[in-house]
C-alpha cells in the first residue's frame, strides 16, 4: 500500500494537506512540534492511494509519497 512521510518538525500547521486528502487520512497531532505547532500526521486509518494531493499542496515541500 502507498504511504506518505511528513517531516513533522518542519510542519507549520497550515493543514492544507488535511483538507486536500481525498481519503481523510491526514490528521492533526495532539502535541506540538519544535515550532510550537500541532503538526499534521499520516493517520494510516484507511487506504492511501498514493495520489500525492497532500504533497502537491504542501507549501513547505515536506511530504514524500512512496509506492510499495
Amino acid at each position: 500500500m502507498p504511504k506518505i512521510k511528513i517531516d513533522k518538525p518542519k510542519c507549520k500547521g497550515c493543514y492544507l494537506c488535511v483538507v486536500n486528502c481525498p481519503k481523510g487520512l491526514i490528521k492533526i497531532s495532539g502535541d506540538m512540534n519544535i515550532k510550537g505547532v500541532k503538526a499534521a500526521f499520516f493517520s494510516r486509518s484507511g487506504k492511501c492511494t498514493g495520489c500525492a494531493m497532500c504533497a502537491v499542496i504542501c507549501p513547505e515541500c515536506i511530504i514524500e509519497v512512496y509506492d510499495t
Partner: protein, 245 residues
C-alpha cells in the same frame, strides 16, 4: 522496495523557507523548480528575484539567481536574456512589484516580446511590509491601509494585469491559475511548465499569474484563505488561459 513517487525537485534546495504557514509562495517555488527539472534546463536557468516576500528566493532555488530593485525585474531579465539568449531567464514577481511600481517595466517588456518567462504571484496584499493594499486588492477587502475595506472611490479599482497584457502582440502565452487546492495546483504546474517551454522553443513572452494565499494578512486560517480564493478571488480574477499560441 519502496518507490518514491513524490519528493522535492532537485532545483529546490532542502532548506526551510521563511514563508508564513499556508503561504502560496512555497508551492509556487516548488512548481517552477519541478518545471525546470522536467525540462532539463536547471543548468542554463537564470532567475530574477523581486522585492517583497519572495526576496529571499535565491536561498531556495539551486540555480543562478539575481535580485532586482522593486518592480524592475522585467528590465533586469531583459538585459540578461538579450546578452545570453541561450539561457532561460525568468522574472518572479508579486502583485505590488509587477502591478504597481513595476507596471511600466512589465508592459514594455511584454510589448517588446522579450523571450522571457514571468511568474506573477497575486495574493492581493503587500505581505513583506505588513499587509497594505495592493493594486490587486479586491473591492471591500480590509488591509493595513484600507481598514474599512478597499473603497473604490478613494482607492481605485483592482487591476487585471493579465487581461491588459493579453492585448499586446508581444505576449504569446498568458494564463491565470491558482494554488488554493491540489487540483488547481496541478493545473498551475502545467501552466508554469508551458510558460518555460514557450521560452525554450523561442516563441516569446510568457506569463503565468498565480492566485495565492496570504492567510496572515487576509486575517484568516490557511484553509479559509484557500476557500476565499475559490469563492471570491477567482470570481474576480477568473482562472484559465487568457492567451495562447
Amino acid at each position: 522496495m519502496r518507490r518514491l513517487i513524490f519528493s522535492r525537485p532537485k532545483s529546490l534546495r532542502d532548506v526551510e523557507m521563511h514563508y508564513c504557514a499556508g503561504c502560496g509562495h512555497g508551492i509556487v517555488h516548488r512548481l517552477l523548480c519541478e518545471a525546470i527539472d522536467e525540462l532539463g534546463i536547471r543548468e542554463r536557468t537564470i532567475g530574477v528575484a523581486p522585492v517583497g516576500c519572495a526576496v529571499l528566493a535565491y536561498d531556495y532555488w539551486d540555480f543562478d539567481v539575481t535580485e532586482a530593485a522593486h518592480g524592475r525585474t522585467p528590465a533586469v531579465a531583459t538585459g540578461i536574456k538579450r546578452v545570453r539568449p541561450e539561457n532561460i531567464v525568468f522574472s518572479y514577481q508579486g502583485d505590488g512589484d509587477l502591478a504597481a511600481i513595476g507596471t511600466a517595466e512589465i508592459i514594455h517588456t511584454a510589448n517588446r516580446g522579450e523571450n522571457i518567462t514571468v511568474i506573477f504571484v497575486n495574493n492581493g496584499v503587500y505581505g513583506m511590509t505588513g499587509g497594505q493594499m495592493a493594486p490587486t486588492t479586491l473591492a471591500g477587502q480590509k488591509t493595513d491601509t484600507t481598514i474599512a475595506g478597499r473603497n473604490l472611490k478613494r482607492d481605485g479599482y483592482p487591476i487585471k494585469i493579465l487581461e491588459m497584457l493579453a492585448v499586446l502582440p508581444g505576449v504569446r502565452y498568458a494564463e491565470r491559475v491558482s494554488v488554493h487546492s491540489a487540483q488547481e495546483t496541478l493545473r498551475a504546474k502545467r501552466a508554469i511548465k508551458k510558460a518555460f517551454k514557450t521560452q525554450v522553443d523561442n516563441i516569446g513572452f510568457s506569463i503565468v499569474e498565480i492566485l495565492s494565499m496570504c492567510p496572515i494578512y487576509w486575517g484568516m486560517t490557511a484553509i479559509q484563505a484557500a476557500e476565499r480564493i475559490e469563492t471570491e478571488v477567482a470570481t474576480f480574477y477568473p482562472i484559465g488561459v487568457i492567451k495562447s499560441y
